[in-house]
Structure formats: C-alpha cells, structure tokens
Symmetry: C2
Subunit: 218 residues, 2 copies
DNA sequence: TGAAGTGATACCCTCTTGA
DNA sequence: TCAAGAGGGTATCACTTCA
C-alpha cells in the first residue's frame, strides 16, 4: 500500500532538480560534495552505531522548492464538546501551514494514564484507544512517540542537573540505578518486560510535568 | 499533508478492537501484561541507547484482524520495453496484494553507481535520480535504505567469516580498522564526511557482491 | 515577546513479508 | 531475492501558551 510511500513524494517529487544530473551526482565525488549549504551539517553525534549515520538533515534550506503542502493532519475533530481540540478537519485551503491539533483534556488524560501504564501500545491497543478517544491511530502513535521523547528529555535533563548539582559539592541522591542505562531505559520498557519494575511500583518520574498533576488531582 | 500519517491508519484503523477497552488497557498492569506471545521478544541487543528499546515487535501474531490493506505499492508491473521498472503513477486496483517491483538493469546500474559514490542522497539528488530513472523518490529512498542494509549485512557476514577463519588457525588479514566500528561505519558515511575516505580511494568492500563488479568492468 | 510545549513531518533503522 | 510494509527513533518545524 502506497500510503506512506507514495503520497508525499509522488506528486511533487519531480521537482527540485535544478543543478545536477545523474552524471553530476556521480561526479559529486570530485567536488567533495558539501551540497550547497555545508553549514548546518550537524551529525548530531549521539549514536555510536556506525550505521546510524544520519545525513546532514537533508539540508532543509537547500530546497524551498519542496512543496511542504501539509494538508492538515488526519485528525478528525476530537471531542467537539468538552474543550474540543481545535480540529483541522476540513482540508485547510491549499498551501496552508501545518495545523496543530490541540487535544482535549480528556484525551490527554487518557493518553497520559495509558502512557503511565505502558510506554508502548500494541497496534490493537492503539486502535482501541484511538477509537475511544476519537483520534486516529496515527495520532495516538505519534503522541506516544512524542511522549516517550519528552520523558527521555526530562530524564536526561534531570540526570544532567543532578550531576551538576553533585559537582557543586552537594552529595545528591541520584539513585545508582538512575544512571544505569539499562534500568534507565527500563522506564520506557513495555510493561511486558519483566523484572525492571514491579507491577505495583510507580514509574520513575522526577520531572514535574504538569501532566502528572492529572493524576494527583482528585 | 497527511500522506504518511493518514493513509495507512485512518481508513481501517477503527477496527481491531476486540477484547479490551481503555479500562482494560489501563488495568493491564494487573495481569502483568506479557501480551500473549512473550516469546519472540528479541531486543536485538545492539544498541547501547537505553532508549532504543524496541517493543516486542508489536507481537504481530496477536492480530490477524488487522486489515493490512496494502493496496499494493505504487509500482506497476515492470519491464514492458527496455526493462522499464515503470513509475507507480496509477493506483492499482484496490485490494491488491503487495506487488514487488522489479527494477530494470539500467535502473539498478544507475542506483548502484550512485550508491557507490554516496551512501545517502540529499532530497534534491534523490528527486533528480528518481526523475531520470522514472521512479518515485520513495522508491529511490527505499532502494538506498535496503541497499545500505544489504551492505551492512554483507560486511557483518564478512567479519564473522573472517573471525571464524582466523579461529581455525589461519592468520587472516582482517585489517585492524575493519573492526573499528567508526571506520566500518565510515563506509556508509555520506561523502561529505571528511577524513574517512579520500576522494580517490575506493570504498572498502570486502564482499563480492556482483554489484561491485559494475565498477570494475571497463 | 521570547521560551517552552507539543502535534506533525521527514528521514533513518530494523525486522518481516510475499511475489 | 529484494522491494515494500510497519513501527520505532531523532531532528525540525510551526503553532500555542504562558510568564
């Protein structure tokens, strides 16, 4: 199914072919590449994986020719009552900017609650959750993805902060396991992974994301 | 544009919701999850990244209910003339099985030649190449992805083979740097990455892929 | 008004699948 | 065999909020 594959590329793909031909690509070796704006090539050193060498983030500036249509996310207006997340239901007039859906409190709550239970959903669980929240599976998937990222960022920040703090002389209470990568990662392990956290134990959440308040209130 | 996001999930998403509700998801904690086939959880130990903890590959067995539409890839049957791999323009009849495009020799040759120069293409290079080969950008992108994987597999296999060989007593010539991940990975670095291989030097390719013959001939 | 939050998009990667 | 499908990751972007 072309979905992913075709939709974005097929239409407008044959576009940004300004300066070079295949021959020029093949000859790129001579000019050391560099690809125009050799400025922003940040290989974001982070992954050890020698294979995980991202390209220079596609030098976004390179081609403004790229359509970037973004005809609104598939989001159907979620809960039009309640606090109604502004839904970009109708195709926003062509050429519109990407519209950001605002999830309702109820949706966020359910998502957070679910996330609190499991960092990863099976596709059927996702389908079910999406259905019940009036969201698309993709939205749920992306939400979980972003949420995991957020958590990761929070934990990273916390670790860094703790280290800086401890460097300042204060003997901080950074639990040993907190820096143990395997256990740290465990915080994102699917529930089905045993050992890492007992059923009864709450997830480790140092950050004070407002979302966690959702579970404190009433 | 929804392309990627919507296409596959939106339509059929609201489906596989058989056994559980949100409540059940939230209560999953009780049953220790395990999520049916707790067998195949292969966390493919390879990434150090504590965050890179893949889920149990979504327990694919769990839901055969998933539509899995796969309205066939954008590719139409290849090779009418030349060997023409045919561009995937027209939507193939709905509900078709996944069809595998067979690229023409010319296309393969160009792709391989380009791959030999750069492991990664910028989007404009990709667009250009795709255009000239009558392929979609996505096809070129996927081809490069699969090609990188293939190379990786080959290199891995070679290393293993060499090690086994050396264990057999024979002092094999496995260049020291061959096992140096950074340099090994360098073989996949985009050309723009300096140092790893001088312009004039050929890529390190121990495998005897037929493709590499393309550059030896003539 | 600038910073932070976050939905969405584009690529990349790994593993699978099916013709 | 290998093009694709599916899902996970990271980096960015753009739009909102909020102090």
């Amino acid at each position: 199914m072309p979905g992913d594959m075709t939709s974005k590329q097929d239409g407008p793909s044959r576009s940004a072919c300004f300066t070079f031909t295949i021959d020029s690509i093949l000859n790129l070796q001579q000019r050391r590449s560099g690809d125009s704006d050799g400025s922003k090539r940040d290989f974001q050193a982070g992954h050890e994986e020698p294979w995980d060498v991202r390209r220079e983030r596609d030098s976004r500036s390179e081609e403004t020719a790229k359509p970037r249509v973004s005809s609104s996310p598939a989001a159907r207006s979620p809960g039009s009552e309640e606090e109604a997340a502004v839904a970009p239901d109708s195709k926003p007039a062509a050429g519109k900017k990407k519209t950001r859906t605002i999830f309702s409190k109820r949706q966020i709550f359910q998502l957070e609650a679910t996330f609190d239970m499991k960092r990863y959903l099976s596709s059927s669980e996702r389908a079910c959750l999406a259905s019940s929240l009036q969201l698309t599976e993709t939205q749920v998937k992306i939400w979980f993805q972003n949420r995991r990222n957020k958590l990761k960022r929070q934990l990273t920040t916390d670790v860094v902060a703790a280290e800086q703090f401890s460097e300042a002389g204060k003997p901080v209470q950074v639990p040993g396991f907190y820096k143990d990568s395997s256990l740290l990662g465990g915080c994102l392990f699917p529930v089905s992974l045993p050992v890492l956290y007992p059923n009864s134990a709450p997830y480790i959440c140092f950050s004070s994301s407002k979302y966690f308040n959702l579970f404190d209130t009433d």
